[in-house]
């Protein structure tokens, strides 16, 4: 039994606002195994990105981790002092952001951004770091890397820029990469390429991926396991093939009802009537109960925890007797 590379335990993220406390992420637990790709899917506002931000320790104030633990290997990282956390960011956990057009500092050559990051984490000289940077660019499929390295971000196309972003995230060989909607901002024609590049380079380096997206098609083609999130809570978790074929939570069933082709948005799915509640108006009991086709009395009063319903599968739904109250 191998140890998970990343382990999230009962994570809760809260935002105090003028109108009261908002819970963006509530009581989420999951593991990521070495080299595994975990897809995290859900509508916008479901708390997927917030979970990623919590793991890497970059929740914007006044938001904060109110409860729970995050373990990287056998080290607890959610309560590290800022200086310690900086040594983990980029070095052991990499992060890829959504929009490659805005992820790169427009005023610096990418060589500078790459070398700066490499030398922050690895004891390399300027020229060694440069060699490594060129190799990285080459690996992510940038043609003529040795020459392009001294270009500015605006001289690359969107897809090429996202490859640079991937290279930057992988600079110091992290064990886990959190990819937050890595293809959403890209042209449909290059989305598949970017996913392939990311998956391949991570596989080659043995890095696990937490792939945050609202695109179930991407998950279906890429991930090993999938976590479905709804209104800040975990609805279902299990191997991708199993969840697609036989989703247990009514929300995931709606999601899987028709898996769109790569590049299609969840927003267009009309299988579940209604909309996800806003964070300040999450109903009592199961958050999904107002929209659920199989709702019954208990759903409106008691909140189900994401509990194991069969080996390797969890769901938060009162339809299953194994489920406990949160």
């Amino acid at each position: 039994m191998t140890q998970p590379v990343l382990s999230v335990r009962n994570l809760t993220v809260e935002f105090p606002t003028r109108h009261g406390l908002l819970t963006a992420v509530q009581d989420i637990s999951f593991d990521i195994m070495p080299g595994e790709v975990l897809g995290v899917v859900g509508e916008s506002g479901a708390g997927k990105s917030m979970t990623g931000a919590a793991i890497i320790g970059l929740i914007d104030p006044p938001g904060r981790i109110a409860k729970g633990e995050i373990w990287l290997g056998d080290r607890r990282i959610d309560n590290l002092p800022p200086a310690e956390m900086r040594k983990i960011r980029g070095r052991r956990i990499g992060m890829i952001f959504q929009d490659p057009l805005t992820s790169l500092n427009p005023l610096y050559r990418i060589s500078r951004q790459l070398i700066e990051t490499i030398r922050t984490h690895l004891p390399l000289s300027q020229s060694e770091a440069r060699t490594r940077a060129i190799k990285l660019l080459d690996d992510v499929g940038i043609p003529d890397a040795a020459r392009r390295i001294d270009d500015y971000p605006h001289q690359f196309s969107g897809g090429m820029r996202q490859r640079v972003v991937i290279a930057l995230a992988l600079c110091a060989d992290p064990e886990v990469v959190i990819a937050d909607e890595p293809t959403t901002a890209l042209d449909v024609s290059v989305q598949a390429q970017i996913i392939d590049v990311m998956k391949e380079i991570c596989a080659r380096r043995g890095a696990a991926i937490m792939l945050v997206t609202h695109d179930m098609g991407v998950i279906a083609e890429t991930a090993d396991r999938v976590a479905v999130m709804y209104a800040g809570r975990l609805a279902e978790l299990g191997p991708v093939a199993a969840v697609i074929k036989d989703a247990r939570h009514p929300y995931s069933q709606g999601l899987m009802g028709a898996i769109p082709k790569l590049g299609e948005n969840l927003d267009r799915l009309v299988h579940i009537p209604g909309a996800m509640p806003r964070l300040n108006a999450i109903p009592q009991g199961c958050a999904f109960n107002p929209r659920c086709p199989q709702v019954f009395e208990k759903c409106r009063t008691h909140r189900p925890a994401a509990s194991e319903i069969e080996p390797g599968r969890r769901a938060a739904c009162w339809l299953y007797p194994e489920v406990t109250e949160a």
Partner: protein
């Protein structure tokens, strides 16, 4: 790059022509140039001869062209009040104003930047609240009151600095500088602070707003997510991006220091171009007014031009045509 500079130059020339037109209209039509040059007893016929000789009866366009031609040679006529060539007058008072403006601009820039960055990096601190409150009071304080206040505290009560004048000056090949003597430097302190405060507040607020904006961008988040040090993120990445938009406005602000010097020079009886101008306005000394206007416009246009070129140097995105994809 060259095309860009040429376009900018052309625009600058247009602005100068526009200002020159205003200056010319002022020069030509405000008051009667002849009446102010001759005594009341001069016969009308003689006045007409003078008018002719000075070209005041020529077509307006010709007069305007002549005005520009003269201006290009630094020729703005004779001051009504002092009966001296205007250019000579301005040049003799220029060092005082430039030294004052330069000192104030430096103070405003250095402290404005430092405070702006500080308040942006610690947006919720007590010190930030205090600085922002003081800065708002600072904007509401008229410059002349700040000057009077400083004079009262530091010159009258404490006696640390002189309350007026430039102190001893040294002649360096036609440039009278107050920077080389102790009394000159001491005299500079209060006026320079007075003049700098308003710009300092503006620059500080601008830097703060821009920096807060930049700190919210994705590339700063990404830089943080890569584990770069606080210093590298704040001063390597955020600061440089802050400076790009700040550059333009700051440049213009520094230009207006020279114009704002009018008030400060009056309060401190500083013998600069500004106090020359204010006296000229009071007695309607038109040639001096026209020349001062042209001078200020020139300063602004030059600063604008320098700022534009700097902008171009700092921001690679503007250089797209130069580099290209596969250079």
């Amino acid at each position: 790059m060259l095309a860009f500079i040429i376009r900018r130059l052309a625009q600058s020339v247009l602005v100068m022509l526009f200002v020159a037109l205003i200056a010319f209209v002022v020069f030509r039509y405000v008051g009667d140039p002849i009446a102010s040059m001759v005594g009341v007893e001069t016969r009308l016929a003689d006045q007409e001869i003078m008018r002719d000789r000075l070209g005041l009866n020529d077509p307006v366009v010709l007069q305007f062209l002549r005005f520009i031609g003269n201006a290009l040679q630094g020729e703005f006529g004779i001051s009504y009040r002092l009966q001296q060539p205007v250019t000579e007058l301005i040049l003799s008072r220029l060092p005082a104003t430039l030294e004052l403006a330069f000192a104030s601009a430096t103070i405003a820039l250095v402290f404005g930047l430092m405070l702006g960055v500080f308040t942006a990096l610690k947006p919720r601190g007590f010190a930030t609240g205090l600085i922002m409150a003081i800065s708002l009071i600072g904007v509401s304080l008229p410059t002349f009151l700040i000057g009077i206040g400083l004079i009262y505290i530091f010159a009258v009560e404490l006696g640390w600095f002189p309350s007026f004048g430039r102190g001893d000056t040294v002649d360096l090949g036609g440039w009278r500088t107050g920077l080389l003597t102790e009394s000159g430097l001491r005299s500079l302190v209060l006026p320079a602070i007075t003049l700098s405060l308003f710009q300092l507040t503006l620059i500080m607020r601008l830097v703060r707003a821009e920096m807060l904006e930049v700190l919210r961008t994705e590339y700063i988040r990404f830089a943080r997510a890569r584990g770069l040090s606080q210093r590298a993120v704040h001063f390597g990445h955020a600061l440089k991006n802050t400076l790009v938009p700040v550059l333009t406005i700051t440049g213009l602000q520094l230009g207006s220091v020279i114009a704002f010097a009018i008030v400060t020079e009056t309060v401190f009886q500083w013998p600069g171009v500004g106090s020359l101008f204010i006296v000229s306005v009071q007695v309607v000394d038109v040639p001096v007014m026209a020349a001062y206007l042209m001078f200020i416009a020139l300063v602004f246009v030059l600063i604008n031009l320098i700022v534009d070129i700097l902008y171009y140097v700092v921001d690679p995105r503007l250089r797209v045509d130069g580099g290209g994809g596969g250079k």
